[in-house]
């Protein structure tokens, strides 16, 4: 696999660029070390965790639900996680603590359980139902989050806009240490399921007949999704389209096998978040543009193209 070393090299270059670029140009002697260590360092590591986490979650959702349009933000997992995290904080926890992380996981898991249980009928996941349920869950969780943020003093450091468009600007080392274990465990789970996800493309009954325990695979994949996405969202907000677009783009280049797809998507997601986060700091310097705004501006048109392509290849959404 030639693309792997290339992707890692690109990531290393981007890490250096991301650390060097920002609202304040590095070079002011006294503050340089502090900026690199306390502000840009954790931010770059967080970008790696968020980018790989969202991309892996996208691959797992699309593979386990046999649905090329699945994405943690579209189906409501991200909104549920944001709500769970905010709810934990309004109950007295601090951001980026074990308690807020568990709140986020609970929120993400509940949202995912609701949309998948509604969309799987006769053991077949339905594309349209999944997306519609995602719309409802996202709206519901978003509304509750708005209420909580308005009434609770303890969540005041993060606005409603922060949650809906995402930003890595508040990232600290504590945040990195809170998010990292969840993403690492989620990535570990996803690494074990590549070949089972391949076979799920046949549909549940045929995969079962080949000895694959479809429900167990799907369960495991969705648990990994919750771990990969939820705590990250509770730390940086909802960053849309990454989980949707990265797996698609990678699949077009290297094909659908989940082994390489998982690995290369994680690397490509990392690159995407590093680039967009760096861009968010410099395009309107000294003001930071929310990173989710950039991914949505780029992602929404590509999503349209994907819808058209998928419709052409599947003959409609009936």
């Amino acid at each position: 696999m030639r693309s792997r070393p290339a992707a890692i090299a690109v990531i290393l270059v981007l890490v250096v660029i991301a650390i060097a670029i920002g609202a304040l140009y590095i070079g002011v002697a006294d503050t340089t070390t502090s900026i690199i260590w306390n502000i840009r360092g954790p931010r770059v590591i967080m970008a790696i965790l968020i980018g790989s986490g969202l991309a892996l979650a996208g691959v797992l959702m699309q593979g386990s639900l046999s649905n090329p349009l699945a994405d943690p933000a579209l189906v409501g997992v991200s909104a549920g996680a944001a709500l769970g995290g905010v709810a934990a904080v309004s109950l007295g926890a601090s951001f980026n603590t074990a308690f807020s992380a568990l709140g986020a996981c609970a929120g993400g898991a509940i949202a995912l359980a609701v949309v998948t249980s509604i969309s799987i009928r006769n053991r077949v996941p339905e594309v349209v139902t999944l997306l519609l349920a995602g719309v409802a869950v996202t709206a519901f969780a978003g509304a509750l989050l708005t209420v909580l943020v308005s009434v609770s003093d303890s969540t005041a450091t993060r606005s409603v806009t922060f949650w809906s468009t995402g930003s890595l600007s508040l990232t600290t080392w504590a945040a990195v240490l809170t998010v990292a274990p969840f993403v690492i465990v989620g990535a570990g789970i996803s690494a074990t399921m590549a070949s089972s996800l391949d076979v799920l493309s046949l549909g549940d009954r045929a995969a079962n007949a080949l000895g694959v325990n479809v429900s167990a695979v799907r369960y495991r994949a969705l648990i990994a999704v919750v771990l990969l996405v939820s705590v990250g969202v509770s730390s940086v907000g909802v960053i849309a389209f990454v989980g949707l677009l990265v797996p698609h783009a990678v699949r077009m280049v290297i094909g659908p096998r989940h082994g390489p797809l998982l690995l290369i998507s994680a690397l490509a997601g990392t690159i995407l978040i590093l680039v967009t986060d760096t861009a968010s700091r410099v395009v309107a310097n000294p003001i930071e543009v929310p990173i989710g705004a950039i991914t949505a501006v780029v992602g929404a048109p590509i999503f349209f193209i994907l819808i058209r392509r998928t419709r052409a290849s599947q003959g409609g959404w009936a």
């Binding site: 090329p68 493309s201 007949a209 000895g211």
Partner: protein, 242 residues
């Protein structure tokens, strides 16, 4: 005497209030071809799903070569029976060879990869899939895709093949080839149960015909016993000349 490869004892299936299959008793002998025919919604696919352990019976037992299906693991089942479902869509653009290779999954670890590849290569040639080997299966026509799935099912090398409307989407030559493959399976000691709407073609070459009607076995036996104008007409609820 050898136990039948499949033995359904007082098996019924209901989902919620709906009775999909009334209690039935059917058995299929090893080394035989059985076909299930009947009108739409008569319970043919339900019966096949019960045989495949894809659906658990509400009452009764399904025995596979003398063992209770419900007590076998998915891995054991996959070595004993292969299932062709009506669904031929593959969600992502895997190649034809990828899909046929999945047929070997139950045997991974028990055979060398060289042996597995040999079986895949042999079956792909037999099903005339060599030229399509690297094509994405999503780009194929319905008939071609069906052939890929039939190849995958054969690659599983299971003694029992359960085929749900294997002939739909296939053209005349394809159906002729399919019949040949089913008879080969039977000749080599294996068994086939096939659900079909093309009774006139498959029933005469079958050892046993299971005629379903309204969730019951309307008639079962040798083709000459079951395939009569009277029994077909009453099963289909409309005059039908044989």
């Amino acid at each position: 005497m050898q136990p039948p490869i499949l033995d359904l004892i007082d098996v019924s299936a209901r989902s919620k209030e709906l009775i999909r299959l009334h209690a039935i008793n059917v058995s299929v002998q090893a080394g035989s071809l059985a076909c299930i025919i009947g009108p739409n919604g008569s319970g043919k696919s339900t019966l096949l799903a019960l045989m495949a352990a894809d659906l658990a019976p509400t009452t009764g037992r399904v025995m596979l070569a003398g063992r209770d299906l419900s007590k076998m693991t998915l891995g054991e089942l996959a070595k004993q029976r292969a299932v062709l479902t009506q669904e031929t869509t593959v969600s992502f653009p895997f190649t034809v060879r990828d899909v046929v290779e999945w047929g070997r999954i139950p045997w991974l670890g028990t055979m060398s990869s060289a042996e597995n590849s040999e079986i895949v290569a042999e079956i792909m040639t037999k099903l005339k899939l060599d030229e399509l080997a690297t094509r994405p299966v999503t780009s194929l026509s319905g008939g071609e895709r069906k052939r890929v799935h039939i190849a995958r099912v054969l690659a599983q090398k299971a003694p029992l093949l359960l085929l749900d409307e294997a002939d739909s989407d296939l053209d005349l030559i394809g159906r002729q080839e399919l019949d040949k493959l089913m008879l080969e399976q039977v000749k080599s000691g294996g068994s086939v149960v096939v659900v079909t709407h093309d009774a006139r073609r498959i029933a005469p070459i079958s050892d046993q015909v299971i005629l379903m009607s309204a969730g019951r076995v309307h008639a079962v036996g040798k083709p000459s016993e079951v395939l009569t104008t009277d029994s077909l007409s009453s099963a289909f609820g409309s005059p039908l000349k044989w």
